[in-house]
Amino acid sequence: MNILANIISLTIVFAVPLMLVALGGMYSEHSGVINLALEGIMIIGALCSCFTLQSLDRSGFGPAHPQLSMLIAILVAGVTGMAFSVLLAFAAINLKADQTIGGTALNTFAPAFAVVVTWAVQGQGLTTIQIPTWIRITQANFGLEPGDGFWDMLIFKYFYLTTPIAVILFFAAWIVMYKTRFGLRLRACGEHPQAADSVGINVYRMRYAGVLISGFLGGVGGIAYIIAIGSGFSSSVGGYGFLALAVMIFGNWKPVQILGSAVFFALFKVIAAYNSSIPFLPKLEGVKDKSSLYQMLPYVVTMIVLIFTSKSSKAPKAEGIPYDKGSR
């Protein structure tokens, strides 16, 4: 039973960054801007957040107030991710640049910047920023006895502040998208910006909002990913920004379905890492490197799904097209 608890809790901790970043992509694409830069935004958010955690750890404030420090680190990740996404928003909205090329530029920039800065701060060759161990939420936080039973494993093995925050952000996303005037206007700008403009919606401002929210979620997703892998930050988020794009497409640009597909993709990630110790999987005797096979599957499944759903795709109609007030 403990292996099941382990799989479930690992799946959740890996689903958190995927869902957050995919939700970020959703906001941006509903406003009409393809955010290919999610990978880079995650890296910048994680970089700044890890440095924050490190300095809080050294100052002694972190061990004394672990969850408050974690909250600060998460906010730092979100705000820096948001600041970085301004570069994409400026190019895509004000300068009407090609959004995919702008995103590629940011994705090239972020890992290089992270390596150069980490190298300069920590010294030559030390390119991994370690994250402190006190960030985990333990039984002690709730006045419970530590244990290793089923429920202890399920809840506390990989319990971090990012998980409850992700739950809140998920409900917030659903409410904002479907129950608020802002969400309706945002979606209008991604479907038919000219029509939105004609009823007095400021398309540029809405698109800025979409990209900036996605920057915030991308940054938070970045630190959530680093927490999930647990081996510190070494200037990479392992392609999770791109995987999150697949999650978003697989989730049909809708929050609830994005949650479902994030869990599905995370499960494959966990299976890839632990396939040898999971009893009910096919054994595939004599096959080496099964991990690659399992990691490849989510992408293959996404492509197959795209074939069947492309005719009824819920992708925002105007995504990727710069809005020009003068054009008809």
């Binding site: 570069l87 640049a97 090329i101 090239t108 150069v116 800065v117 690659s292």
Partner: protein, 368 residues
């Protein structure tokens, strides 16, 4: 004033100027960043980046050697751009090309030229997917390409791990995390040096791959500018609907364009790994070479002849970048490349600015 007007209307000149301006901005930005990080060493760092490529014949050989795969990946991205497609999947096609070349060279003991053909075929097959998905299901080629980058990388890692004959451990070495050294497995699969090493002071890097890439660039230029097929491709790139109205089969051209782009990237993977100096390491991250094809193509404005020079430039600063250690990480080069890509994203604006500068006061007079 007439002379100025003519200058402003010279598209080629404006493209080159726009690229030069991007490069200058990139270098300034890189320098400022290095200066903030380590003011004392910034000058040494940027100097190393800008002079190492010419510092010795061996380094210059390395510049030429690395420029060949860059040129081919740049041609690949540029070729797709001409048809209005963004081939961000050059990395996956490059990986598959490398795999096919090594499969031919090590497992099947083929000569180098046959391996290169295999690399083209492998890359071409990987290019079919984004093309077909676009043509049949109208799926954005950017999404398909990104997915197939990852599928390609995991597939190659998986296949190599399950083909022990490809790994170094089968050919007298101890490590099984990389492919066999070609000198041990099949010296005939190494691309010949053609006497270039003698000219370049016994450089261990150089071989004839840079000439293969040059030849391919010329062929690509010919296809795009002197054939009906190239004309149709470009017409689809400018306006898909109009070209369909003119009787051009746009879907067929999308698929063909992606196959050719894929074959070019695949060839890039082939020439890089058949040089005999590097082995494919089974890693869990996407190879950067394909992505570097994007700035190469953007700097060249997708012109195949321009690609030759932009690939040489990117290769030059990359070789220089690795000489910046230990003061700075060699990734500083990527920051400069990122700035160049970012500026290229709003190329139209840059061009407008340069045209205005070139034509000087003319604008004002017209307005007045």
């Amino acid at each position: 004033m007439n002379k100025k007007k003519r200058l402003a209307e010279n598209g080629m000149l404006i493209s080159i100027l726009a690229s030069v301006v991007s490069i200058i901005f990139g270098l300034i930005f890189g320098f400022v960043l290095l200066f903030i990080l380590n003011p004392a060493k910034a000058g040494i760092g940027i100097n190393a980046m800008l002079t190492t490529g010419f510092a010795s014949l061996d380094q210059f050989g390395k510049v030429l050697y690395q420029s060949a795969p860059l040129m081919l990946c740049g041609l690949s991205v540029g070729f797709a751009f001409k048809t209005g497609l963004f081939n961000i999947g050059a990395s996956g096609q490059y990986t598959i090309g490398a795999f096919c070349a090594l499969l031919g060279g090590i497992a099947w003991q083929l000569p180098w030229w046959a391996c290169l053909i295999l690399a083209c075929i492998g890359g071409g097959i990987w290019g079919i997917f984004p093309g077909l998905f676009k043509a049949l299901f109208n799926v954005n080629e950017v999404i398909t390409s990104i997915m197939f980058n990852w599928i390609g990388m995991f597939l190659v890692n998986f296949l190599m791990a399950n083909m022990p004959i490809l790994l170094a451990s089968a050919w007298g070495a101890s490590n099984s995390d990389r492919t066999a050294a070609l000198s041990a497995a099949n010296p005939g699969a190494i691309i010949p040096k053609g006497g270039l090493d003698k000219i370049l002071g016994n450089s261990s890097w150089i071989n004839i791959s840079v000439f293969i890439a040059l030849l391919v660039a010329l062929i690509t230029y010919f296809i795009l500018n002197k054939t009906t097929f190239g004309y149709e491709l470009k017409a689809c790139g400018y306006n898909k609907e109009a070209s369909r109205y003119a009787g051009i089969n746009a879907n067929r051209n999308v698929v063909l364009s992606m196959i050719i782009a894929g074959a070019l990237s695949g060839l890039g993977g082939g020439v890089y790994y058949l040089a005999g100096t590097v082995q494919y390491v089974l890693e869990k991250s996407i190879l950067a070479m394909g992505f570097n094809g994007i700035p190469v193509a953007l700097l060249a404005n997708s012109n195949p002849i321009g690609t030759i020079f932009s690939a040489l430039f990117i290769s030059y600063i990359q070789v220089g970048g690795s000489a910046m250690q230990p003061n700075f990480s060699s990734e500083a080069t990527d920051i400069i490349i990122a700035v160049i890509i970012y500026l290229a994203a709003f190329a139209l604006l840059m061009r407008g600015l340069i045209i205005r500068l070139l034509s000087g006061k003319k604008d004002k007079e017209v307005k007045a």
